[in-house]
């Protein structure tokens, strides 16, 4: 479309918020009305509650299940570190699945239904449309993670010992980063391919691929997988931020770069698409 230079029509009854704000509100309302937020938050809450309980009572559970037949194998007495380790592992695995499932239809679904075209004939930039979706997704994952961490901290304190809150703030931040990485990669898949199934495939391949790469000695700390060890250690208060040094900085930087790259690819691709 060509356009001459005259200034745009002045809003006749303006004072409205930004398109991003309006769309973000819509995303959050949608998360509540379609039960995405309550369901994910509920499942995360269960994870937060069950992880310390499982760590605390695992020896008894094994014994009740016939563990006396294991003979000489002695199960060590569980500690707060085991509770944290269990929580981080559960959040990492289950949370990544939730992130993929939440992100995969966000753009492809709206394109299929025609609602993306409906919104983008209004005075809305494509970036605002994408950003509102990403932030909405981030709020659902972030809020759910916070709920899981609070539940995990309380149960760890009750069943083991109270641990310093600062370490659990680090845990929250690092787990959120881990989840956002898979959410962003799946989201990019949803934007670029326009297919919910393909986006899911990209998310699961990323989960598997990054899992394999992070297991390679020396490479782990340059991947999102490198976030999980420090998250556990900081929450369990077995190490300080200063002691972790680059083992904390590198995975954070690598994950942020990965997220930024996924968002950039999404914005570039969506900007070129016809709806």
């Amino acid at each position: 479309m060509t356009a001459a230079a005259p200034a745009a029509r002045a809003p006749s009854a303006g004072g409205g918020g930004s398109a991003f704000g309006v769309l973000l509100r819509k995303e959050l309302l949608e998360s509540v009305r379609t039960f995405r937020l309550p369901i994910v938050a509920g499942l995360f809450l269960f994870t937060g509650l069950s992880s310390p309980v499982l760590a605390r009572y695992l020896p008894e559970i094994i014994e009740l299940a016939g563990g006396d037949q294991l003979g000489v194998l002695e199960i060590p007495t569980p500690t707060a570190l085991d509770a944290v380790d269990q929580l981080v592992k559960n959040l990492a695995q289950f949370g990544a699945l939730a992130a993929i499932l939440l992100a995969m239809p966000l753009v492809s679904g709206e394109k299929d239904r025609g609602t993306a075209a409906f919104i983008l004939t209004k005075p809305v930039t494509r970036r605002a449309f994408l950003l509102a979706k990403l932030v909405g997704l981030g709020v659902v994952l972030g809020a759910s993670t916070v709920i899981a961490v609070i539940a995990g901290w309380i149960y760890t304190a009750l069943l083991f010992e109270p641990l310093p809150v600062l370490g659990w703030l680090w845990l929250t931040f690092l787990v959120c980063l881990w989840l956002f990485a898979f959410a962003a990669l799946t989201f990019a898949g949803s934007v670029v391919t326009g297919s919910t199934a393909a986006a899911a495939g990209i998310g699961f391949v990323a989960l598997l691929g990054l899992g394999i790469v992070s297991a390679i000695p020396g490479l782990g700390k340059f991947t999102p997988g490198g976030l999980l060890g420090p998250a556990t250690e900081l929450a369990a208060n077995t190490v300080s931020v200063g002691q972790l040094g680059t083992n904390l900085f590198y995975p954070i930087a690598a994950t942020l770069v990965l997220i930024a790259a996924a968002i950039a690819v999404s914005a570039w691709s969506f900007g070129r698409q016809e709806l």
């Binding site: 356009a3 745009a8 409205g16 819509k26 609602t115 004939t121 209004k122 005075p123 016809e274 709806l275």
Partner: protein, 329 residues
């Protein structure tokens, strides 16, 4: 300037130049080929054409959902530009099959659109109530859109398109899902809008165009066949028509007459629909003299014989039908 003139100036003027859209690269499908149109401010402009004519492609290009392969659309000298989000205020759009967020309430959806157009929350709420009342959805405003019927969704689509009081309304088949009463109401609403907006709408229903349009463009196979004010189009292309209804059991005579008329130079077309025959003629003087002679020669007994007023359907069939007989460009 008259009051009517002032009102007309409220709508946006649209200039379409060499608008071309090819899907799928250089060897892909040419959906629209060098369209040139001038849509005057304050007009109700109908885009008419058979399926695949390029109507929806034209509207998609007009609202910025697709990019032209070549050419341009200029709305009010660029004051409104669908390619630029900051200049999209002033356009109201209704999709052919409006599908919205099923979890939203009708009122919320229209308010959201108002907010996206930059209206304050209070103004958006007032306008939403106003337009929902106008399209007859006030009672359903609090219901979730997922429970709306197709006709209600179409009315909701019109409501959201009107919430910013647009100067240009682009409506793709705006009454296709409505029952006759709803169709009449919405067409009346569109006709009223010419006082504040320019309306461009596509349809394949010719009577809709005849009821409310000032100007008509007929598209076929991606090309503009003709464009003119409706009256001018009828005067220019509508041929005199005669309608002959035979007595029952006159099928053989009807067939004889049709065969005979198709060979004479003053007949443009002969349509037989089973119970009647419509004859379009190019020379009315000769036809008025010769047509009944031909009936007698075919030994056909008639129940009625009348000259009928040609309508847009006749123009459409004549123009598009003639092109259908030509090889594609």
């Amino acid at each position: 300037m008259t009051a009517a003139g002032d009102a007309r100036a409220a709508g946006a003027r649209v200039e379409i130049r060499d608008l071309t859209k090819r899907y799928g690269g250089a060897n892909g499908v040419l959906a629209l080929d060098g369209l040139e149109l001038d849509v005057p401010a304050g007009s109700v402009f109908g885009l008419l054409g058979p399926n695949g004519a390029g109507k929806t492609t034209t509207l998609r290009l007009l609202v910025g959902l697709a990019r032209p392969t070549r050419g341009s659309v200029v709305i009010d000298d660029g004051l409104i530009d669908p390619a630029r989000p900051d200049r999209r205020r002033g356009i109201g759009v209704l999709d052919q099959e409006p599908r919205y967020y099923g979890w939203m309430r009708g009122r919320e959806l229209v308010e959201m659109v108002g907010r996206l157009h930059g209206l304050s929350a209070t103004v958006a709420r007032q306008r939403a109530a106003e337009v929902l009342e106008r399209v007859g959805l006030a009672d359903a405003a609090r219901r979730r859109v997922g429970g709306y019927s197709g006709g209600m969704r179409q009315r909701l689509g019109i409501a959201q398109a009107l919430v910013d009081r647009p100067r240009l309304l682009v409506l793709d088949e705006p009454v296709s899902s409505l029952d006759p009463e709803g169709r009449r109401d919405v067409l009346a609403l569109i006709a009223e809008l010419r006082e504040t907006a320019t309306v461009i709408f596509s349809t394949h229903v010719l009577t809709d165009i005849e009821r409310i349009c000032d100007r008509v463009a007929i598209l076929d196979r991606g090309q503009l066949v003709t464009e003119a004010p409706l009256d001018e189009l009828l005067a220019r292309y509508a041929l005199p028509l005669y309608r002959l209804v035979p007595e029952p059991g006159e099928d053989a005579g009807l067939a004889r007459l049709a065969t005979a008329l198709r060979t004479v130079p003053w007949v443009d077309r002969v349509d037989v629909d089973g119970v009647a025959m419509t004859v379009g003629v190019t020379d009315e003087t000769t036809a008025s003299r010769e047509l009944l002679r031909a009936v007698v020669a075919a030994e056909l007994r008639l129940a009625s014989f009348e000259r009928v007023r040609p309508d847009l359907e006749d123009v459409f069939l004549r123009l598009v039908g003639r092109r259908a007989e030509e090889p594609a460009a």
